[in-house]
Amino acid sequence: MDQSFKKQLLIDFGTVLGSYAVLFALQKSGVINTYWQGIILVVCINVILTVSLNVTSGFLGELALGHAGFMAIGAYLSAFISKSLPLIPALEFPVAILIGGLSAMAAGYIVAIPTLRLRGDYLAIITLAFGEIIRNILKNLMLFGGTKGYPNIPAYTTFTWAFFGAAVCVLAAKSLIASRHGRSIISVREDEIAAEASGVNTNRYKILAFVFSAFFAGVAGALYAHYIRFLQPSVFTLDKSIEILVMVVLGGMGSIRGSIISATVLTVLPELLRSFSDYRMLMYSIVLIVMMLAKHSASGKIMFRPAADKTQEAET
């Protein structure tokens, strides 16, 4: 086991550093132009969002529709920190990211508590409501400029920051899932009653999954804020949460690799379709429906874990 672990560790670090080196070189040498550099950065941010949501939706098996809310909290609070703290940039940004993540994490904890008693669709309703509350408060918070937006955020997010942010998130999610804590989270998805009977404190692991997921959504928000440099509540709508959920589902519930791929494809694809800008969303929606239908027509090739439907078992 130790042997295979060392091998895995080498592969993980090799992949991370290798892809970083390649992408970095391509950008520095100008093979990838500034336009695409921006897109690569957004890919990294979307990878963080997707992988982190996969922890709640794919591994814990709960349908969460408020991920954009956590992202918003991380974005605004980190921006506030870097705008108001008189530190040197090299120190300020990590602090801002951390604060962004931690405050989203606190919000995740607050959302997790009421959801402990709820399941399935009700949980979806609560997380949806939560996301809307966050956006509504931001719209009215003059400290952050309300609907007019929050401008002049320092441009700290570089490719390196975004890339390693994504790498940390992916590796943390992978290790979490491979640990006893991760197995306990998955057992909640598989069968909550059997999990309790096996000694798993299901409430604790539900909270853990939510908090983990919210932390990285906050980190993604912080990276986003310092890339786009101007925040508006209208970015963090239900549509944004759904966009992330779609990436999770298309990549495969409970598959981290799938999340990375689908976050990349679904970020790059709309850019490629930019010349058809009028038809872009229409095509996106058709692709969505067709993919869902195709996925289920090939019998047996179900990438979704059917156990994500826990409510179906509930009987009166």
Binding site: M1, S175, R180, E190, D191, G199
Partner: protein
């Protein structure tokens, strides 16, 4: 020597219905105990109260002298009562080994950070858990299926896996809810041997619900008969077989 389980005047109401009433049970260390009764007699309800799924309306449940009423299901599991379910509840999309590893979590204590950072303590404990899982699986000859998905196991093996998973919590008392349901006579025979082996190898007490009289009479040392939520009789298999009330309830008049 203290008894493993001491249940006194246990009762539960569902709405206006008195599902179980005035149940007393005493299980001694290493005992194989049977709980029988017609359908709807409240047997599974008793299991659900013993394991913290339902909160009893009255009465006490003591595990080695400690009252466990009001404790959460996972706490009771960690205190030493493990169970299987009437309609198998495995973690179907996980592998056979993972099913056992989840209950073996009770035997590990490395922290979240240790796990995420994969510190040495994580490896030490994971390796130990892995070996323990394989050891438990081999008791039931399931070691070769370790990497199969639980859903792909044949029915009989799924039942056995559920028992292995229950054993993973290192219980003092194992509750089996109709372990022979859906098995043919040969499989039932094997199951009886297995249950005896489990009791001896793991040195635990076993309480089982069963409809198969041959199985119950064949391996249980003591039996309680439930009917309409109340205790109809209690005694050795021989005593139960000659009990008038039991014969009346089972055969009618």
């Amino acid at each position: 020597m203290t008894n493993v389980l001491e249940v006194r005047d246990l009762g539960i109401n569902f709405g206006g219905l008195r599902a179980v009433d005035g149940l007393n049970l005493t299980i001694e260390p290493g005992q194989l105990y049977g709980l029988i009764g017609p359908n709807g007699a409240g047997k599974t309800t008793v299991f659900n109260m013993l394991t913290g799924v339902y909160l009893p309306s009255d009465g006490t449940i003591e595990l080695y002298g400690e009252n466990i009423v009001g404790k959460k299901a996972h706490q009771i599991a960690r205190m030493g009562i493990a169970r299987t379910f009437q309609n198998i509840r495995l973690f179907k999309d996980l592998t056979v080994k993972e099913n056992v590893l989840i209950s073996l979590d009770t035997q590990a204590d490395y922290s979240l950070l240790t796990g995420v950072l994969k510190l040495p303590r994580f490896h030490a404990q994971e390796t130990a858990m892995d070996e323990e899982a394989m050891r438990l699986l081999s008791v039931f000859d399931l070691q070769d299926d370790a990497d199969k998905l639980a859903r792909n196991l044949p029915y009989g093996k799924q039942r056995e896996l559920e028992i292995v998973r229950a054993l993973g919590t290192h219980p003092k008392l194992l509750l089996l809810d109709e372990p022979a349901a859906g098995m043919n006579p040969q499989e039932t025979q094997n199951l009886m041997d297995t249950i005896r082996t489990v009791r001896e190898q793991f040195n635990i007490a076993i309480l089982l619900i069963e409809h198969d009289m041959k199985l119950v009479m064949g391996i249980c040392e003591k039996i309680t008969v439930l009917n309409y939520g109340t205790m109809l009789a209690c005694g050795t298999p021989a005593e139960i077989q000659s009990d008038k009330n039991v014969i009346k309830a089972y055969l009618g008049e």
